[in-house]
Amino acid sequence: MKVLLSWLRELVDVKESAQQVAQKMSLRGFAVEGIEAIEDLSAEASATADAVLDFEVTANRPDCMSMVGMAREVAVAYGLPGPRLDHVRGAGPTASEAPRAGDPPAIQIIIDDPQLCPRYVGAVADVQVGPSPSWMQARLQAAGIRPISNIVDVTNYVLLELGHPMHAFDLARLAKAQIRVRPARAGETIKTLDGQTRTLSPDMLVIADGERPVAVAGVMGGAESEVSGTTRTIVLESAYFNPLSVRRTSKKLGLKTEASMRFERGADPAAAATAMARAIALIEEIGAGKARGAVIDEYPGKTAHRIMGLRREKIRGLLGGDVPEPDVTRILGGLGFELKPTSSGWDVTVPTRRVDVTREVDLIEEVARHYGYDRLPVTFPELDVPPQAPDPRIMRARHLRTILAAAGFSEALTFGFISEPAAAAFADAADLVPIANPLSENFAVLRPSVLPGLVDAIAHNRRREQRDIRLFEIGARFSRADGERRAIACAWTGAAAAEHWGGTARPVDFFDMKAVVDRVCDAIGVGIHTRPSDDAWLAPGRRAAVMLDGTRVGAVGQLAPALADSHGLVGSDPVYVAELDLDALEAAAAGRSLRVEPLPRYPSVTRDISILVDDTLAAADIRATITEAAPVFLVRVAEFDRYQGKGVPDGKVSLSLRLTFRSSDRTLTDAEVQGAMDAIMTALKNRHAAIQR
């Protein structure tokens, strides 16, 4: 709401500067978005500077979208009387609200739906259309409204001054001299003042003449009944429309106007008549015309005043301190509330313009707001129950962040929505969750995986001269089948070991990334294994599913080069990625408690074994054979060399393993260990045709 300081000063006797008023009012609930200094527009003032204060009026305060409304707040804030309406500029002889006896009504007003239009005040005036006086034009312009003609300007002036939207029709263009407030008929159209033809539907309220719609009620007038230079007689409208109905219509038509903004937040039904009287007075005052016949006031949905109790004890109970009673009555009285003392406090009558005040707490807020939050005491809530432990997921995520940072990964945060093509590479199209009203194509679907965003972040860094990049993110991912689930994802490109004078850099490979997966799972407390997978988003031959007790909980591997290209990584080093279902890992780890095992009391024996096997045989299969064939005292199997090349036939691989044996109850004898080794070798020969080297 743009408030012209000189205009404000006409309504309330505030002497302070624009900056001082802005500061004061920002502590009363009206933040100031800006102060624009302009030339003084008031005739009396000399060449002193005037200013426009742009107040931010919150959605609950439509009554303050007006000069009078803001003046009332300023008056209470400064402890001044006001707002004065009696001697303001342009106020001539006030037209009577009462119908003028004897005059025949020049227009007929019918309200078909009193729910949606509880009040409609109409009047007819004979006019000479021309420009409005310069002072009026200047005030409209200061508030950001373009002057049009004396009649339209008067309606806009009243809108600014009193906050009540009005409209003027050309009587000659109204069929049957009739105003009918009714729902639109299916398929009806109207050309609105902005020149657009709009199709209406029966859930919209219109103002119609005897035949067709002439205005979208509370939103915008029609072009065909618009006041023009040739207009001789006008019908003035000052109505009250149902807020919800105006809001729905405005949304549906995508049409937001000064009028709709006020009606949808809640106009003041009582102001309809006042605004009409004011408009007629202004028209007569500026010589634009004269009212003819009676003012018609159809008011089928009369609003009753709300009366509610306000308890002293509740004021203290909510604010934590006492507000002196004289302050309570001064503040509420100044804002237009009527107070009647009761034993516990007051019975308060709420003015109809205060649509936001429906409960006792609303009154307490009014008191606190103008008493000043800064004058309330400062206390600290008592802790009367034992503190609860935090959600373990939060603490676990912190732990994982530390572990991954220590492993060289920096944390990324990427958006929860991505483009459809980026998502489609990681999930079935049918499993994607599109956003109904996305901001853009780039944010069209919820991410089925954290990886696309992470790979984009890799690409962003690659374009900025970074080659060695490790990133991770912990966050939600979404699918139609499984809903929202939390994931942890890592991406790594460039060097595994950084370049150093003491050795050369080594590029990251599959086993670096797999080690990260192992470490994460270890930190959570679950054991996983990997097996080859066929995910199309990973490179063939370098991709694996991460398995936990037979269930897939993630994937690890090299990002498919074509996919990397599509993320802008053309010609880049390989990108290794991993993603794990954090919810699944945590569920598996739940309830596991950490118990210390006794330290070994007997020495261990290690034996190395080298075998030649088919190079397609998985190391996991060899391990399984060994473990199966060995006695219980085999405690560890570790591959320590894998060799292909000179001396190894084509299609074969030489694999060396180190086996550790240890018993918990005795020192093993050579014979025992040798027996175990023989059993293992026999099993390897039988099952895999392994040849001992």
């Binding site: 933040a31 939050y373 220590a406 956003i435 944010f443 972040a457 490790r470 809903g483």
Partner: protein, 363 residues
């Protein structure tokens, strides 16, 4: 007239040796000295001794003794110099300690998470339970129960992203026996604030309540200097008998001073549908110390969070009795905190994940 006596020739040679020795710094230098002075064939000491024939007979004995002393002194000096050189030489396997160390690659925790952990820690110390909720929500928890029925104008304040098809939301609260681990109804939108968890928590837990809910929230805002369609929020809620606006003030003073250091805190009336009275909370501008500058738009104050006393309609929606309990709620944006704390002027930096940005925050 120069002294040409044999004695003076000895002293000249001694002085010459001393000067040469002090300039010698390598084994090679010492070897050269050894040869030059002591070599049997061409050494200058040897040469001097040969001059004995030119010395008067009565002085020969003395001369011979002096030259021998010189020879011994030179030998001793060279031996000592060799030993000193050996001692100063690095031992086998010595390294050049001035070369750079082998780098331990270390990552960084995202600045927004860094700030979030700080906020969590502050509230944990105040006895708050910290918990997470689902990111996709339904209209009831995100709006309706928070006193924003359909068509409420305040919904415009939080432009919402809706899902084209409903899905199952994330689980929460599994760690609390009192709360079923999956309270799911089909989610239809991306939560616009973590306040939705207020409702879920109060519906399953009797008062008193003291919680902090951090997490990602989404709004239909285009990316620019100060907006992102996704951001990080921490939402707090305290409910009990006798909780007041004064308690809210005290809590924020404590929290904001722990977060920002020595700042002043002020409350400004505002409007949120789910609180009444409502307040924006400002801290004094640290760039200018409150005198007014570009950072604070010359007001001396910076808006940091929104808050208020829980609206009775919210208590009614969750089955609490607003005549018995009161409470306060607040929401604080991590981006805002991080921008003020670290002097970041473009919010988009937080979501570009540029290592040159991230690596400015120590682990």
């Amino acid at each position: 007239m120069p002294d040409t006596s044999p004695q003076s020739a000895i002293e000249t040679l001694r002085a010459d040796f001393r000067a040469r020795l002090s300039a010698a710094s390598t084994d090679r230098d010492l070897k050269i000295l050894d040869d030059e002075f002591l070599s049997r064939k061409s050494g200058s000491v040897t040469a001097l001794l040969k001059q004995i024939t030119a010395v008067p007979a009565d002085q020969r004995r003395e001369f011979g003794a002096l030259v021998n002393t010189l020879k011994t002194d030179i030998e001793t000096a060279l031996t000592e110099a060799r030993a000193a050189l050996t001692a100063s030489r690095p031992p086998a396997g010595a390294v050049d300690v001035t070369l750079p160390g082998r780098e331990i690659t270390i990552g960084r925790i995202h600045p927004l998470m860094r700030v979030r952990q700080q906020v969590e820690d502050i509230f944990m110390r105040m006895g708050y339970e910290i918990l997470e909720g689902p990111e996709v929500e339904d209209d009831y928890h995100n709006f309706e129960a928070l006193n924003m029925p359909p068509d409420h104008p305040a919904r415009d304040m939080q432009d919402t992203l809706y899902l084209a098809a409903p899905i199952v939301g994330g689980t929460w609260g599994a760690h609390r026996r009192a709360i079923p681990d999956a309270q799911v109804r089909a989610a239809t939108l991306l939560r616009t604030h973590t306040s939705a968890m207020q409702i879920r928590y109060m519906k399953t837990t009797p008062p008193p309540v003291r919680i902090l809910v951090p997490g990602r929230v989404y709004r239909r805002d285009n990316l620019d200097l100060s907006h992102t369609p996704m951001f990080q929020q921490c939402e707090g809620l305290v409910v009990g008998e006798g909780i007041t606006l004064a308690d809210l003030k005290g809590t924020f003073e404590a929290m904001l001073q722990q977060l920002f250091g020595d700042v002043k805190v002020r409350l400004r009336p505002s409007f949120f549908p789910y609180t009444e009275p409502s307040a924006e909370v400002d801290i004094s501008c640290q760039s200018c110390g409150g005198t007014g500058c570009g950072t604070c738009k010359h007001t001396g104050w910076l808006e940091i969070l929104g808050s208020g006393m829980v609206h009775p309609a919210v208590f009614e929606a969750v089955g609490y009795d607003p005549e018995k309990v009161t409470g306060f709620a607040f929401g604080i944006g991590m981006e805002r905190v991080a921008m003020l704390k670290y002097g970041v002027d473009d919010i988009r930096l937080f979501y570009e994940n540029d290592l040159r940005f991230l690596e400015q925050f120590p682990l």
